[in-house]
Each structure stands twice: as C-alpha cells, then as structure tokens.
Symmetry: D2
Subunit: 295 residues, 4 copies
Amino acid sequence: MKVGFIGLGSMGYAMAEQLRSAGHALVVYNRTRERSERLLGRGVRVAESPAAAARYADVVITMVADDAAVEAVTLGDDGVVAGLSPGAVHVSSSTISIALSQRLAAIHAKANQGYVAAPVFGRPDDAAVKELWVVAGGPQAAVDRCMPVLEALGRGVTRVGESAPAANVVKLVGNFLTGSTLEALGEAIALTRKAGVDFTAFLAVLLEVFARPAVLARFASVIANDQYEPAAFKARLALKDLRLALAAGDAMQVPMPLASLVHDSLLTATAQGRGDFDWSVIARLAAERAGLGSR
Amino acid sequence: MKVGFIGLGSMGYAMAEQLRSAGHALVVYNRTRERSERLLGRGVRVAESPAAAARYADVVITMVADDAAVEAVTLGDDGVVAGLSPGAVHVSSSTISIALSQRLAAIHAKANQGYVAAPVFGRPDDAAVKELWVVAGGPQAAVDRCMPVLEALGRGVTRVGESAPAANVVKLVGNFLTGSTLEALGEAIALTRKAGVDFTAFLAVLLEVFARPAVLARFASVIANDQYEPAAFKARLALKDLRLALAAGDAMQVPMPLASLVHDSLLTATAQGRGDFDWSVIARLAAERAGLGSR
Amino acid sequence: MKVGFIGLGSMGYAMAEQLRSAGHALVVYNRTRERSERLLGRGVRVAESPAAAARYADVVITMVADDAAVEAVTLGDDGVVAGLSPGAVHVSSSTISIALSQRLAAIHAKANQGYVAAPVFGRPDDAAVKELWVVAGGPQAAVDRCMPVLEALGRGVTRVGESAPAANVVKLVGNFLTGSTLEALGEAIALTRKAGVDFTAFLAVLLEVFARPAVLARFASVIANDQYEPAAFKARLALKDLRLALAAGDAMQVPMPLASLVHDSLLTATAQGRGDFDWSVIARLAAERAGLGSR
Amino acid sequence: MKVGFIGLGSMGYAMAEQLRSAGHALVVYNRTRERSERLLGRGVRVAESPAAAARYADVVITMVADDAAVEAVTLGDDGVVAGLSPGAVHVSSSTISIALSQRLAAIHAKANQGYVAAPVFGRPDDAAVKELWVVAGGPQAAVDRCMPVLEALGRGVTRVGESAPAANVVKLVGNFLTGSTLEALGEAIALTRKAGVDFTAFLAVLLEVFARPAVLARFASVIANDQYEPAAFKARLALKDLRLALAAGDAMQVPMPLASLVHDSLLTATAQGRGDFDWSVIARLAAERAGLGSR
C-alpha cells in the first residue's frame, strides 16, 4: 500500500522501517528533515509537509510526541486533513488525550476521511524486531482498510471496536497498569531489601507466582463478571495480610502508600459487610466510586 | 518421613493429602476432630493435641489461620514446642507476622528444635493438584531436612536464605503485590467500562502485553540494580500519559486513586530533575522514602 | 466609581448589591436578562453585552462559573476586552485556572487595559452581609485604582503582589485547604461515631483545640522558615500517635486514607533520620517532592 | 487532694508543677530519680515506686511515653494497681492505644479502683502556663472525684462520657487532625512558594479565612447531622476547583497527594449523583466506607 509516515522519533523510525521491510511504498515526513533522509535512497520518498505525505497515501500514520504535536501535523494548511484524499485513512498511533482523539474522529468524518486510533505497546527496540502490540479502534471499514499496515508493525493487533478513542483509553490504561506495577515493585523491593531477603530468590518467586497470564485472566474475568462468591480468598483474610505487611513496613521503616490504599479498600469491603467475598471485590468498590452499578 | 500436620482447614487438608500421596507417614491434629477423621483410615493417624502430633514427627507443619492460632498450637503444655524432639523441625506455613516468626525462631532455637518458615502461594484448589509454590526460610540444615516434605506440597520451592522471617516477608509482599494488581484492575476496568471498551478485547491486550514474565523480570532487575539510565521510557513522558489517564477518569467520572499515586511519583521524579530517567525510577523514590541510599 | 458587573449568579448578585449600597454607579450584565432586571430601577443600569457594560466603566468585575464562562464574556466582539477603555481595569473574581489568568493578564496588557485577579472567600450569604474576604493580585497601579471597589465587597482585602495569577493560586489553595479539613473531619467523625464519643463533646474539643489562629500561624511560620528544631513535638512521637489512630480505625473498621497519608509522611521523615525534628517537618517533605531546596 | 504523679518528662514535670501550685499534696515518681528531686524540697515528696506513689493518693496520674511505659508503671508488684486504695482513681494522661485503655478500665474495675483517661492537648510550654486542654472519660463518679485535679492542669476540661477509651479516641483523632493540617499546609506552601506568592500575604489570608472556629463548627455540625442540602457550595463546583489546584500543581511540578485524595472524594460524590449536595458530603463517603448508614 501507499503509506505516509509522519514522525520519525526513535519509535516512529523503527516503525517506518518495518513498513518498508514489509514492502509498503513509503513517503515520510519529519519536522527535522535530517532524520527523514536517513531513510531516503532506500526506496523511501521524503515529503515536504504532512499534507504532502498524506496526499498520495492510502494510509497515513502519525507517531509524534503529544497532543500539541498531533494538532500541528494534522490541522492547518499543511496538515494531514488538508492533504488526505476522501476515503483514505489517518492512523493516529501517538499516545494522546481522549478529548483530542474524539475531536479528530469528528474532523475526519466531516472530511469524508477515515480515522483510526492505533496506539502501540512496546519500546523502540521492540519495534525494531517487530514485537510491538497494536490496539486499533475505529469504524470497521477504515480499520479493515489499514490492517495490512497495522499487521506489519508488530506481532499482533487487537481490535477494540468502532470507537477510535476506545483504543486510546486502552493505551492510557495500559500505561497506568504498568506504572502501578512499578510503584508496587518499588515498595515491595524496598521492604525486602530492608528485611535482608536475597533479591535473586525474591525475583524467582515473582516470576513463578505473579507473572502468570492465567492468574491475571482469572482475576480480570471475576471482576468483569462482577461475581465475588464463592471466594477463592476472602477479603477479610486478605485484610489481615495487608495489615501484617503494613506492620512489617512500620517496624522496618518502609512507607508503603500503595499497601495502605489496598488495605483501605479491603477494610472498606469488610466494614460494609463484604468480608466473606473474594478479595477481588475491591474492584467493585472502584466501580461503585465511579457510580457504576452491578453488571 | 514421619510428618505431623496441624490445621486441616481447606488449605491444610489439601496439603495433608499431598503429603499422604507422596508416601509420608502422617499424624494430624485439628481443633475440631471431625475434619481429622476424614483422613483417618487412609493410613493417617489422628493426634489428640499439637504436642502429640509433634512428638513422634521428624517434621511438623502448622497451617492455621493467624498469629493467635499459631501461638495456640505452638506454645503451652499441649503445644508443638512441648512435644517436638530435639533436632526435629517445625515448619510454619501460616501467613503470620514478622514479629511472631522472629519469636518462634528464638523459642525453637532455645529448645534445640529446628524452625523453618515455609508459607505457600496458591489456593486450596491449587494445593489439591500440587500446584502450590513454597517459599522456605531458615537455617540451612533445618531446611535441608524438610525439603522432601516441602517438595511434596507443590510444584516448586524457593529458598530465601538462613532467616525464617524473610520467607514470611516474601509471602506478605506477594499478597500485597496481588492486592495492588486487583486495585489497579479495579480502576482500569471501571474506566474501560465507562469508555465502552469491549471487555474481551481489553482482556486480550492485558494478556498479550502485561502478563509477561520477561517484562516483570526486566523491571525488577532495573530496580534491584538501581540503574535508571539509559531510559527505555522516560519518567516525564510517562508522567504525561498518567496525566492523560487521570484526565480521562475526570471526564468520565472514574476516581483513580492509584493512578494519582503513580502520577505523583512520576511528578516528584520530574520535579527533582530525574524526568529523563527511566520511569522505573519511581521505585528509587520508594527506597528513598525508606531511608535507603543508592545500591 | 463607574463599575461594570458581569455575572449575577447568587454570589455575583450579592456582590453587586454591596457595590450599589456603597454608592458606586453600576451597569450590570447577565446571560439571562431576567436576573439583571431585579436590580434595575434601583439606580442600576442593564447592559446588552459584556462589552457594553465595560465601555463606560472605570472598573469591570466578572464573576462567572468557570474558565469557559470567563472566556465567553471577556473575549470576542461582545467581550470585556472589546469594550474596556485604555487604563480601565478588569477585575476577575471568578475561580479560574492559573493558565487562563496568565493569558488574560497578557491580553489586557497588550490592550493597555488593567487586569486584576480578585477572587473572594466566602459564600453568597457572607457576601450579602459584606463578610467576604478579597485576595487581590496585579500591577500596583491597577490594584490601587480598584481598591475602593474591592473594599466595598467584603470585610477586607489582602494584596498578594504584582502577579495577578498569584491571587488565583491563593484562592485554589484556600479551597484545597478547606477540602482537606472536610476530608479529615469525615474520617475523624466516622471514627468517633463508631467509638461512641458524644458529638457535642467532640465538637467542644475541636473548637477549643483546633480552630485557633495562633496554632495555625505558628505551624505556618515554622514551615515557611523551614526550621524544625528544636521540636515542640517530635516526628517519631507523632508517628506513634498516627499508628495508634490507624490501629483504632482498623479495630473499629474505619478506613482512614488521610491518616495513612500523614502516617507515611511521618514514617518517611523518621526513616530518613529526621525523627527528632518537629513533626511539621512533613511539610519539608512536600517541598522536597516539588524539588524545592531548603530556604 | 493527695495526688500521686508518675512520669516527669518535660510534659509531666510542667503538669506536676501546676498541681503543686494549685495546692495539691504531691508524691512523685520518675524512672530516673534525678528529675523527681528537682521537685523535692518544694513541698513535694518522692516515692520509690509507682505503687508507693499510688498508695496514699486519692488520685494518681500517669504521664509516660507509650503503651509499654504505661504497662510498666501500672501492672506488676510495684505498679499503680498494686498500690492504689479501693475507691481511689488512676488518671491516665498518656497518649495510648484504645486497646490498652480498655484493658486498664477492666483491670481497675476488678480491683474496685477508679480509672479515668484524661489525655491533654498542648505542649510542655503550654502546660507551664496552664494552657493545656484536658479531655476526660470514665465513670461519672470517678471523673467527679478527680475534677479538682484535672481543672488544675489547664484552661479547661471536656468530659466525653462514661467510657474512658472514648477520651483516648478523641486525643488520637485530635493529633490526626493536626497532622492533616500540617500535610495540607506542606502542599499548600510548596505550591505558593513555586507560584511566587508572598508568604506574609498568604499567612494573612490563612488567618482571616481558615482559622475560624465558626467555619469549623458549621462544617462539623453539617457532617454530624448528615444533612448536605441545601448546599452552601456544591460538590461539583468544588470538584472543579480541586481539579484546577491539581492542574496548577502539575504545571508548577508540585505533587499534591492530599489534594488528589480530596479530588477523588468529590469526584466520587459527583459520579454517584451527589454533585449538587454541599461539598461536605465527602464526609458521608468516609462514613459509608466505614459501613455507617445515614444518621
């Protein structure tokens, strides 16, 4: 396919190379022309503006830093919207706000252009070995049209439905989940360091016990089904364990704010008469805080 | 081996059955005798007290509800300490406080008895299919002695060193980590529900992207090495994403206290001049809060 | 003085009445004309647009709901900027973002108009009895010019300096402080309810012990001077008390997230070797998180 | 009256001096005798043990560091319980756990001795000028009996009812409230510092607006009555302001975890359909987390 690619940072560059390797005809644009030229003479053409890159493309991908950068390359006389043909598709892979994604969906729809949000999970070195994971949202026809391009970017694509911003939500939620893991690991490792636990042994347990897709899938399904009985592990017993973890933190002088957050959720569940439910019931509390009723 | 087993709740019962299947000679004790008798007549003897169960055992395991229950079966005239022979080993598998584990280590040492803390990860139905993971801490000779018993309990054993309480710390930290995942999933799923994201698609992304041992191992190693440069993903860029996640939560009315916690850590790192470090640097903040210096 | 007043919600209406009572010549504008007319025929004129209200005024006050409403009445052909004479002053009393306040300062400066941010503390019924407190920020000459108007609004005015947005910061911080008090009272009263403490007695203690300007002034000064020795009350002793408060919450099943936050700050201070400092040292932690050095 | 006084730390010493000045006959005990002797020869006798101090007293006060210290001076052969006459009263002024206070109440009741918990608010230099505030809980007759002593300690006494531990709860809650104020001031002052707000001006606003007993009383009463309509300030408007405060913190790189906590409570209230209630409704959320229904 004829593909425009806008934004050749370390991630964008690696993605563009994957597209070239997959045999797509590539026209690239980057704010500083120098990076574009590194791809030139390898069957890649360089455009003078985002609009020019978009003009002859079936699919144009934008992969830039933030909302402001996306607006800069998309709107205005030189932007993607000005150049893209009716029926061609703008694939936005940047991590941007839901509000901007909604706005872009409306703008492109008005211009009879396709708009697909397709953020990616992974790092530049994952991109370089085609190990990214792509999450795509948008009208079915538009997503269908650019699937050959999306599939060339990484090891797989998950389609989240007709709403483009839904894909951006999944990307933001994903980064939040990883950040939560880092916060949790920070507190956990601080405590084990102070307790003199051997790190190699601790890591071995982590890998045997926590990094298990089956466990995550089980919990996520329980939460999605909103069904917390019968309990595999009761909230009131988990509360006891969090209390002991905090006591250990207190004794060894390791502040554990995330442990307090989990403790408070379990205490809330117990105080509200749900202590015999499975401890994943704390996810129902999160839903209730958001005003969501039972499924 | 001759094994005493004290505490036949749903977890203890399944563990005792594994020991029997593995060919160990079992003497059991439970507060309510009824549960013990379900094992009787299947090559298992029933003891009248914890002390009696301990008396003829090489290794006696306690698997009861909490600190108070462990004290009740261990101390006093009828307790494990009173019955256990010099050189025999008490394996404490209950999830208990660090303080009690330290105290038990001292009491058994004084009585010339072995003491090993060996909490288990998994649920009763995991125990029933020998899928538990055991974490063992204690003096090397004592752990060596009871390894045949520990290995009969589950799919593997991690030894964390000469300190018994270290094993309890790992267990508490483990439950904290799982609780953190539940809290994070709760907020994440509430947001995706309100955003209209299809759950099956979301779960697919979760499994492809998050439940990956390699990712966890990579982060844990970075944190343990306390080395945050070069950055795979910069703290200040992650901060932007958390800000967007919170903005999405605000717009859709989904309170996300854990996301705020992660955001604040990333903002702290950035405000302190560490915005270009890898975002796992938030674990260094946790260490610094605990008064720990660089490695 | 000739005063334009834009925004006759319950707060704005009461403020406008104070200005009329003080003898200022008033021209009012409200989005729904009906509210304006309640003031008509009492020496007050009604304008057809914000620009018209601004046109003949020495000082024009805007008191509307949020950023969007301020933009709507200030910018555009019918807005305050279009109508205001050079040298006249726009007093913005709405609670708005720092970003918008900065933008308005620049816009008015370019138009040779004065701009003063003057948010107010108090409620509509305080306004009705001239009990508001006004916080004013902006270039000295502009603030001087509108002081007769500001003084007519409430029981006093605090000038925070040449920067208009600084006044908005003080307003936002003020509402944050009150919100914090509500959160703290919520947890405190939940615990005392469960403990069976008589509310009247509790309130008496609150009033005798906490609502004391001298106490607040003492703490604020210690924090501003960043001087935590000698300690009036040591951080490590306060840590003990917070631990006991959390233990009481645990025992009575009252989740106390704010108490956990305070506990963690005190534990951090202690873990970092500052346990013998005055407990107000937790404010230094907040400053350090923001990358601020010692004073 | 004949008063025993145990514990002559800086606070206890100042309290003992007040009792001597008020004309009570004083027998003192301190772990290190040296401090006792500073009071000797000024009409004060020194006892060799807590029991000895208690033996001839009508009322014996203990003012020591923590639970362990209270147990040390109260229980055992040399302790207060062993020395105190039937009908005489033990006044415990230390800040201790609810659990220990409950236990002491039971022990003294069994020994036909009175037990009153009477923690004090204030610092040693407040004690030195009789500015402490005393909170007393216990059986009416016992409290009546020691009122002359309690009144000699400070500027006033609040009686919280027949339950001694209730007084301890009030003390712990009080210290929590002050700690919350410190945490809030820390974040507030960090933000105003970065925003360049003049501290003197900020302090002036604080004193005019926040340190007002009437405001605190108004909020506390609304919360106690659990009546949030009509709203003086709606939760959804307060939510907007907290959102702006957090945005200011973000822009100036000031992490504000407490502001996030308040924001999340207001967002929860709004998401649950209570956005038009007074913003003090966040206290109802705290009550609901504790499983408390409406009043």
